[in-house]
């Protein structure tokens, strides 16, 4: 087992932690953190893939690196949008939860417009 593979296993574990947090944490902000953890696991995996493809004098295949950089920016945009939604939801509803106990027909019927 090479040291690169070790990082690959860590990445898989980070994805696993992220998935668990995303599913079980009731607080949306924690879900967002878990999503980021999961994302970072995926990016690490790409880094490991790139590292395995080290060749031609490069320590890391540049293509996966570029994908990761694009991916990080996309993930950041997602985080920003989710946080803004969450803050607005908290401001409007006074609570921040994804729970939807009421039957769907009841939850949308008081419309303002």
């Amino acid at each position: 087992m090479t040291d690169t593979t070790i990082f690959g296993l860590y990445a898989a574990a980070a994805v696993g932690f992220g998935l668990y947090g995303l599913i079980t944490n009731p607080q949306p902000l924690r879900k967002i953190v878990a999503f980021n953890l999961m994302g970072s696991g995926v990016f690490l995996l790409l880094g490991v893939v790139g590292r395995r493809g080290a060749a031609a004098g490069f320590g890391n295949d540049p293509v996966p690196q570029a994908l990761v950089i694009t991916g990080i920016v996309v993930a950041f945009s997602a985080t920003a949008l989710a946080v803004a939604l969450l803050l607005r939801l908290f401001q409007t509803a006074g609570s921040a939860t994804l729970r939807d106990d009421a039957p769907a027909s009841a939850s949308i019927n008081q419309s303002g417009d």
């Binding site: 997602a78 989710a82 939807d100 419309s111 303002g112």
Partner: protein, 613 residues
Amino acid sequence: MSYPATVLDAVTTTRGFLLVLSIIVPVAGVLLAFVVGGRHIERLAFATILFGLAIAAAILVALQQSDGPLVYLLGAWAPPLGVALRADGLSAVMMMVAAVVISAVGVFAGADFRPAAAESRAPFAFWILLLGIWAALNIVFLGGDLFTLYVALELVTFAAVPLVSLDGRAETLQAALRYLLFALTGSVLYLLGTTLFYGLYGTLDIVLLSHRVRAQPATLVAAALMTTGLLAKTALFPLYLWLPPAHAGAPAAASAILSGLVVKGSFFILVRLWFQVMPGLPGFAATQLLAALGGAAIVFGSVVALRQERLKLVIAYSTLAQIGYLFLMFPLALSASGQLESGGALAGGLLQAVSHATAKAAMFLAAGSIYAVLGQDRIAGLGGVWRALPIAVLAFALGGVALMGIQPSGAYLAKELLLQAAAEKGQWWWAVVLQAGGIFTAAYVLLVLAHVLAPAKAPIASDRPALRIQETAALALALCSLLLGLLPWEAYLPIAQGIPSYRLGPEAVSKTLSKVLLPILGGTVVATLLGRWGPPPAHITSWKPPLAVVDPIRRIGLALGDLIERSDGFLRQWPVAGVTLLVLVLLFGGCNADGLVMRMQARPASGRHQLFA
């Protein structure tokens, strides 16, 4: 200057630039609209839409004249280093549908999102996001690289989520947040699979992958992750927790886009993945599982739709059912060794997507017109609405009829093609599901129509008059869907035999009649048994004897409906949906592994050719 090509199609074809145009025109529209803002944003959007519509049409024409897919190598860099755009028949058709639906929605929204003297929030966001979704969908349809498709998927999501919460109410904000978080989970899974594909084969280009992908254990993991991620974004049962509140809560124009087009984006990538990226990989069990989920979606979505009290929720749950319909094609089109076997089934699946896109957009727009006039959309309160909004009601009805699969609608043609494939393969159980799907659809459409056509309980107190242009936009889309079956699809979709003809004759008439009557009669029965009806009007005494007969059966139906509605509430809880998501990953991995063992012995011939004309 470019990297030595390893594939035959790695050259830009003539008129390939049309593909670039179809992406950068809406992108340029987004950028300009963002700067201009203010009062001119709507006109700018209209100009972009017209331009885009023309490009989509031009691509259809160009594709017919070329003898293979249109290809454009971005920056003249050939894959695997570069990224290619490719348009085959499937992409061209989907692009045209997107253009048509967006045009109609644009006309409809022109009345709702007309900016006032100063720039205001909702129009600004709506028009930019509309163009953004369009650009993103075109990339989804054309992208030849799995990572470019990932970015496109994210673009779709980022444009779609704010549309859900455009009116700013707490419920819609919550729906948007759910949608965003679940969709993000799906895209992370997709990206994971993409990563593994790169690690395995050193390319993300779809055509190159189709040559290189072999049935290996790591490939199965990648495929399972990507499939499930895309299912979460498509909202296939049981991963639909975000769909009903998001689609029903958004403004009508946005709902039409979300239900009609957005879910088709991830579905389209799934089709690319299963049919092109990894031919020979999905096993019998995996395709059956996919279609079984589809079948469950039909039953679940339809039954819950029948029990909704609000029109927009009926339509939203109908989307859930219709998404299920899209997945019935997988076992019919793919052979047991995962190769494309029946082009007709694939064409049928795509046609179903096309018909649903137009019909569902029409229905949401019609519902939006009704909502705008009545100020509410409770089904029980829809009596007499056809007097106030005859065109909207007609649009809704025609959209419903088109969805049921009645001649000459696109859904009819789709159903015929799928039934044909089911008969050829001897998988009769899918034929049953296909027919049941039509009956269920008829049931909720008839249920709504029965209320709409009933006499008004109270005179309609209208806030504002009906806008004819909005109703007409809805009607145009509904007519589109209804007449889709008459178009020459052979040029774009892999339909081997001629399409079932429409020649008149006594035999044809009786056959047609039976095909029309089956869903309508079946639908009436189902709607009577499972629907929510108020007490019958007391003054009609003739209702009593039949009611006495129906009552016990109806009670069973209601109990069944209750059960399904309760499981619907259970499945829509976040933790449950999350666990289901992971279980599906494992199931798909397991199903494909099952096929893997089979294929280890008999590896398929390397006949991995271009599947699509």
